[in-house]
């Protein structure tokens, strides 16, 4: 996983509560054998006017001009501003894969569904919880100014607005460390590679049959 660096990104507002994982990535796309490539189908039923199917040429589909991500001013957004209970519904990791593949790095909301929140960290996406009033204020600020961008500094745990206002946020130390170092669960386990090898050597002596290779 890439290290999470300080960046300044355009904010796109998605002004509805309880956005569920089926809305984030509809179920017909779960048959995919890939972890990437879900970006074009992010919010599929809101983003396009037709019904999406796997394997289509999405560039030729009719866009819903009213959907926020289709508005030119939000096209390059890297921060999604959302309302409460974002990511509720099924546990599908595909929802996070789709947001990350689209290009989002941060999601700001007053609250997140539990499994979705956990899945974010497995995939380098930073979910930031802010109180509902602050989120509301941001919605107004984003609407009022085209090109509204926030600077996200994870190490300092702050957001900085274009006016220089600094908004602090909370995150647990263990997760912060993992994102900053770009450590995924696998990378974390691989930090103990020496211990794994030592275990293997000991077991190989005690119980060599466990290591018999599976041949053709």
């Amino acid at each position: 996983m890439e290290k999470f660096r300080t960046f300044t990104g355009i904010v796109a507002p998605l002004d509805r509560p309880n956005v569920d994982t089926d809305a984030i990535i509809p179920k017909q796309f779960l048959k995919s054998i890939r972890r990437t490539g879900f970006g074009p189908n992010l919010f599929d039923q809101w983003r396009y006017l037709d019904e999406g199917q796997p394997g289509q040429d999405h560039s030729r589909r009719p866009l819903n001009p009213d959907f926020v991500l289709n508005q030119p001013r939000y096209r390059d957004a890297q921060i999604l501003l959302a309302r409460e209970n974002f990511g509720c519904g099924s546990s599908r990791e595909h929802a996070v894969w789709a947001l990350a593949d689209y290009g989002f790095k941060v999601i700001i909301a007053p609250s997140f569904a539990d499994i979705f929140y956990n899945n974010c960290f497995k995939n380098g996406l930073l979910p930031i919880v802010l109180d509902a009033d602050t989120v509301d204020r941001l919605f107004h600020a984003v609407a009022a100014r085209e090109g509204y961008a926030l600077t996200v500094d994870l190490a300092a745990q702050t957001l900085t607005t274009p006016d220089g206002e600094v908004i602090p946020f909370e995150i647990d130390a263990f997760r912060k460390h993992r994102l900053l170092e770009g450590l995924d669960d696998i990378a974390l386990t691989l930090q103990h590679a020496g211990e794994i090898r030592a275990y293997e050597e000991r077991r190989r002596r005690e119980a060599p049959w466990l290591f018999a290779p599976v041949g053709k």
Binding site: I33, R34, R35, L190, H192, Y199, E200, L210
Partner: protein, 469 residues
């Protein structure tokens, strides 16, 4: 200090490090791979530039999507075909042994692991599939994992795990004739419920369990997950060791002797303490039939479809009413009055040679009833199929009017072309009777192979104990 449970022994011998936060890094000896839950894991490896930690600890085979007819023509559904081809390509790229669709050893992952001796006592075994608990029959710690964990095991040969609590389910005494492993496990689930084992690892014990063959023990452990437990297992004894001896990947010579000595320790100590104990009397267990949409909705074949009006708990009552509506059954109907449209003998629960022998014994010299539109036997692996054919079982089934198919998951979950049509009612030897599991609108009754075979002949459920001979 009290003695250790089998679970303690399996757990302790695989801890690489204690993380100090309630989790441990657990070493995984064996990993089974199939086409549905692995593609994103392999892609994850590729994106991160990682290689499998120990490629030869893995064994792959396609099973969920493979067709059970005209195998030589390949897979017609392009989405299914792509998943299988992707597995082939990933295994080639990462150096993982695969029994491809045309390999005579191909089959359901949980059938081929034990059959090959890939599954051995004392191991930790995982697979991106909840029925991995099957392998616990060998005195192994085996459980299902998600796609992220599949990638984690491939890359590190370890998993970060939290230890479960220990439960022992003792089935005391002996079952009567005509009562099988499937009936025992359905009775256990009926007793403790589908959430009864949540948070536990279950050890199955007692004379009735010890009296089972390895096939029967696998059937019991297979359905531990249906009782809510991620893992279920049984102590090692002579039956286990006799089964493993001579399997292709089993140890030989001096190594075999050493292994057997170690395996003899794989049982709970007499003074071991469990967090929960459940006891059933084997003699009271009859052949079982599920009537609803959850495996705990089960009654003896001599019983009747229950009446929700008798259920005091309102939540349970509503669940029963919904299940009866879906299943189109009236409360009070004798189980033996339930007429069927299809019969499916197969799945990782009941598709091994012993299962097929039991079913064949019932149908030998008889005919499938006229109201049965399709009765099919799907062997669990190519080797099971070959063995059955060598014993002439295929002919017994064919002459009775059954279809004899190629190995795979088939109608257990209807991911290939085998499925129920809306409203069709099926006697099935599989493990899940959820709504739509065997096809949208399909109605599933879970039973043993002998009960399924007898139902095919009668056209409705019958008590196999009173059936002819």
């Amino acid at each position: 200090m009290s003695g250790r449970t089998l679970y303690d022994k399996l757990w302790d011998s695989h801890v690489v490090r204690d993380n100090g936060d309630g989790t441990a890094l657990l070493y995984i000896d064996r990993h089974l791979v199939h086409e549905v839950t692995s593609p994103q894991a392999f892609e994850g490896l590729r994106l991160a530039g990682r290689r499998p930690w120990r490629p030869q600890a893995n064994l792959a085979t396609p099973d969920h999507n493979v067709p059970t007819t005209r195998r030589a023509e390949g897979i017609s559904d392009p989405v299914s075909r792509l998943q299988v081809e992707t597995l082939d390509a990933n295994c080639r790229e990462f150096g993982i042994t695969e029994f491809t669709m045309d390999d005579p050893r191909q089959g359901i992952v949980h059938v081929i692991g034990p059959e090959e001796g890939f599954t051995l006592p004392g191991m930790t075994i995982v697979c991106g599939d909840s029925h991995t608990s099957t392998h616990g029959a060998f005195g192994a710690l085996a459980f299902g994992i998600g796609t992220s964990e599949v990638e984690h095991v491939l890359a590190t040969q370890c998993l970060v795990q939290k230890k479960s609590r220990a439960m022992r389910v003792t089935v005391a005494g002996h079952v009567g004739p005509g009562v099988t492993a499937k009936d025992i496990v359905l009775a256990i689930i009926g007793e403790i419920g589908t959430a009864g084992g949540t948070g536990y690892a279950i050890e199955f014990a007692g004379e009735a369990i010890q009296a089972l063959s390895m096939e029967g023990r696998m059937t019991v452990c297979n359905m531990a997950i249906e009782a809510g437990a991620r893992a279920g297992f049984i102590a090692v004894d002579d039956v286990t060791i006799d089964y493993v001896r001579g399997r292709p990947y089993a140890p030989t010579g001096e190594l075999w002797e050493r292994a057997v000595a170690a395996w003899r320790e794989l049982h709970s100590d007499p003074d071991a303490v469990f967090d929960r104990e459940v006891r059933l009397e084997a003699a009271a267990i009859e052949p079982q039939v599920t009537w609803g949409t959850s495996p705990e909705m089960v009654v003896p074949v001599s019983g009747r479809v229950p009446d929700p009006a008798q259920e005091p708990d309102p939540v349970k009552r509503e669940g029963m009413e919904a299940a009866l509506r879906y299943m189109a059954l009236e409360p009070g109907t004798p189980v033996t009055d339930i007429r069927l449209d299809k019969v499916f003998i197969g799945s990782c629960t009941n598709s091994r040679i012993e299962d097929l022998r039991a079913a064949a014994q019932v149908v030998r010299g008889r005919r499938v009833a006229d109201n049965i539109r399709l009765a099919m036997v799907v062997p669990g692996s190519g080797l099971v199929k070959r063995q059955a054919e060598a014993e002439g079982l295929d002919a017994v089934f064919r002459e009775a009017g059954f279809e004899w198919r190629e190995p795979g998951c088939s109608m257990c979950l209807a991911m290939n072309a085998d499925r129920l049509e809306p409203g069709e009612r099926c006697a099935s030897t599989s493990n899940r009777n959820f709504e739509g599991r065997q096809g949208a609108g399909g109605r599933t009754h879970l039973v043993s192979p002998a009960m399924a075979a007898a139902a095919a002949v009668a056209g409705h459920f019958v008590d196999v104990r009173e059936f002819g001979r």
